[in-house]
Amino acid sequence: MSRKRSDFENSFFGKLSRFVNGEYTPFKEESGYSVDQTETERRLHDDFFKEAEWTKKQNEADSYVSEYEGWAETKGIKLYNRLYRILAGVVCVAIIAVLLYTVSMLPAFGNPDNPANNEVPERYIEKGLEETGAVNTVAGMILDYRAFDTLGESHVLFIATICVLVLLKINEEDEKEKKLAESDDRRLEPKNDMILRFGARFLVPVIELFGIYIILNGHLSAGGGFSGGAVMGAGLVLYLNAYGFKKTERFFTMRTFSIVSVSALLFYSISKTYSFITGANDIESFISNGTPGNIISSGLILPLNICVGMVVACTIYAFYAIFRKGNL
């Protein structure tokens, strides 16, 4: 093959053959490096160039990133905090202004010309004692004229307890979970607190008696099922705090709660159904109003007060117990 020309290396066909063999790329020439450089030199040069380029780019990216991060940590948070405070203040002032404006539009307190003083309270006040037999007109209203409302409220309390139980109940069979909940519960509790126990010994009977008094006198004096039940529930919570779950579990368990609540609600529903049916059909009811002022008087109001009080007391105690140990 002596016919090869001396400048074959740089001729078109020479370049082509080298390109086909993978030794030469025609695009390299444009970057200004002569083809005459040996392979190792070129590679070294390329590597150095690439590295310099890479570090340069990296530095640029780093500076971008650091700038961005710094913005979020310093200026961004500052801006967000300022915006947050301004917006919170604006919303707060706006709500206060709207509420004050609404209050200023209300009629004056105790004015006889108020729109609330129409024929409805007139009837309640004038005929309430005669029709319901309750000296306490409020009790006559909420447990006779508007007993349906109170029925719904009692059921709302029961449903609320069930919802709390569904959300917070722990699995009794899971020993680990039970132990964790119990240790969590006892962690901050002062055990055998003498002051609390001594105070509770005198206060709890008084509070319970006061609650029972409020419930039983609901149709005669201020109070009623809800207030009395709340007082009784508060007394139970105090007793539980002073003496612990072991003492309360002797008389109040899940079984007690379900029996008392469900039977009270059932009695309420059945008795009010009876009185609604007799009232709607103008049938003479066998429940008499009795003598106003006596404990046993005013028809269904006294038993309904007791029912509502039972439900409320059970609900409050159950709330507290479920919040604390995840079960009744």
Partner: protein
């Protein structure tokens, strides 16, 4: 309205603002209890004693107690809880 009523109303506003602005959750709940007590006295002045009883029992008593229990559950009460808890854990391990 008498001076007493005005004082109660001012206390109501102060309690409401303080309960919202207080940083310590425990103190905030105690202020809220105070708010309920003042409110129950105001109910009594407005001649609705049954509401006063309910407010005192529910607002000052049960709501606050439930708040306290919730704070205890989420470990928001500032106390030496961690030390005691760790001690308990160590004892259990032993």
């Amino acid at each position: 309205m008498s001076f007493f009523t005005w004082a109660l109303l001012a206390g109501l506003v102060i309690c409401a603002v303080a309960a919202a602005l207080c940083k310590n959750l425990l103190v905030s709940i105690q202020i809220f209890m105070g708010y309920s007590v003042i409110m129950s006295v105001i109910w009594f002045i407005l001649e609705s004693p049954d509401l006063a009883i309910t407010e005192a029992a529910v607002g000052a008593g049960i709501t606050s107690v439930l708040f306290f229990v919730t704070l205890k559950k989420i470990h928001a009460l500032k106390d030496n809880k961690d030390e005691i808890g760790e001690k308990d854990d160590e004892q259990e391990k032993k």
